[in-house]
Symmetry: C2
Subunit: 215 residues, 2 copies
DNA sequence: AATTCCATCTATCGACCTATAGAATAATTA
DNA sequence: TAATTATTCTATAGGTCGATAGATGGAATT
């Protein structure tokens, strides 16, 4: 359309990544939203982090809500896919649940703010994108739930447990980490290991009855 | 005190509860804050719930932040005291931890919105009241942590577990319930029972090794 | 060198929201 | 019933914030 010479796109068309600073801008938004919450944060706050003017942000996103959506998308991305891959492995339910816990915790290392914003602020997304993103997280819940049920039918886990409640317990436990892992001095593998032990032993069939160590 | 006959306060001084609707107003605030978050909610939203004018609210609280503080106070009240009482009982650590979990979950029945607001919105309190309220919740964490440590030294729980991480796991698990217990169709005793089992079995010393049921 | 494009800037509008002042009404007490 | 007190109202000030329009300067392209 513009600047065409002869054929289609003969010259080294500058189709290179437009908005080069986009990742930096969205990271700043994640940081500010994580710290103050979506409604508590102002676009001015984001601009301050970047050292640019408030209005300049609108070159990178069309609205504050759009920025939230970008942050939330990076906050969920990968969770469902890796979860699905782990659930499909040919290993014991114990092993798979343990891996699910690890992989659920690991994104906190490199994109903790994104995950935190997704967890706490997704309710403020406009209806449409909220539903879209909500599907991902319900999908992930189903993955956990199913592995737990498989563990029960395989005889690895206690019969009679409520897989739904256990799922909510495990996810609640893991997700809470996003709110304290910066303050506490614990590294992700240590957290994953402690949580896995708690859950795996907690669900396991107890081999023999034994009265609580008196004395 | 009230209804004295002769001496001080000759007439039936109307020292009765001023601001009669105060509990109703603060409940409406809790509901709105729980639903939209502190900054996402407007005083108009609260007034709409009550069917009064926005400005009339200021007869009941001096600022929106003051309303948040009132809600948060009811959201934490009792947790620390009952926790302390349970921890002091002369029972096994298992039993006490189990009771701590139950009692931590039960306020969701009658004041779920207050608890939810405390958990999610306390960060937006003015610095002073945030610190004051923060002390309560750190106190509660210490109670859990100590009971867990006592369980280890008593030989009820696995040696080598990280009591701090387990505390954060248990509280994360329980607190998450405030965000889903209305949607999920689970009653509080069922949740408490499932969570207790998970945690108590998860921490318990396993009586015997047993390889995962192959086939 | 001229042109086009990218990124950021200045300036500002309009909407929304908290909080105050003071009038008006309802309830209670003397 | 009159006086007093409690509650809600109207009106609006004052501030903040998101978003738009259009200008500016620099970099890349031709």
């Amino acid at each position: 359309m513009i600047g065409m010479t002869v054929a289609t796109l003969p010259t080294t068309r500058r189709n290179a990544s437009q908005r080069r600073r986009a990742p930096e801008i969205i990271e700043a938004a994640a940081m500010v939203f994580a710290e103050r919450g979506f409604h508590g944060a102002t676009t001015q706050d984001i601009a301050d982090v970047l050292g640019i003017r408030q209005a300049s942000l609108y070159y990178y996103f069309s609205s504050k809500e759009a920025a939230l959506e970008l942050v939330c998308l990076r906050g969920v991305e990968g969770f469902f896919e890796t979860g699905k891959a782990i659930a499909a492995r040919p290993e014991s339910a114990q092993k798979r649940l343990s891996l699910l816990i690890s992989s659920h915790l690991s994104p906190m290392l490199d994109r903790g703010n994104f995950v935190k914003v997704f967890l706490n602020e997704r309710q403020h997304l406009p209806a449409e994108s909220r539903r879209r993103i909500g599907r991902w997280s319900r999908g992930l819940e189903r993955i956990f739930e199913q592995v737990i049920e498989e563990g029960v039918t395989a005889g690895e886990f206690r019969a009679g447990l409520d897989a739904r409640l256990v799922t909510l317990a495990v996810l609640g436990m893991c997700n809470a980490a996003s709110s304290w892992y910066l303050k506490e001095n614990k590294d992700v593998p240590a957290i994953a290991s402690e949580f896995s032990n708690l859950v795996i032993y907690g669900l396991a069939i107890r081999p023999a009855k034994r009265r609580p160590t008196r004395r």
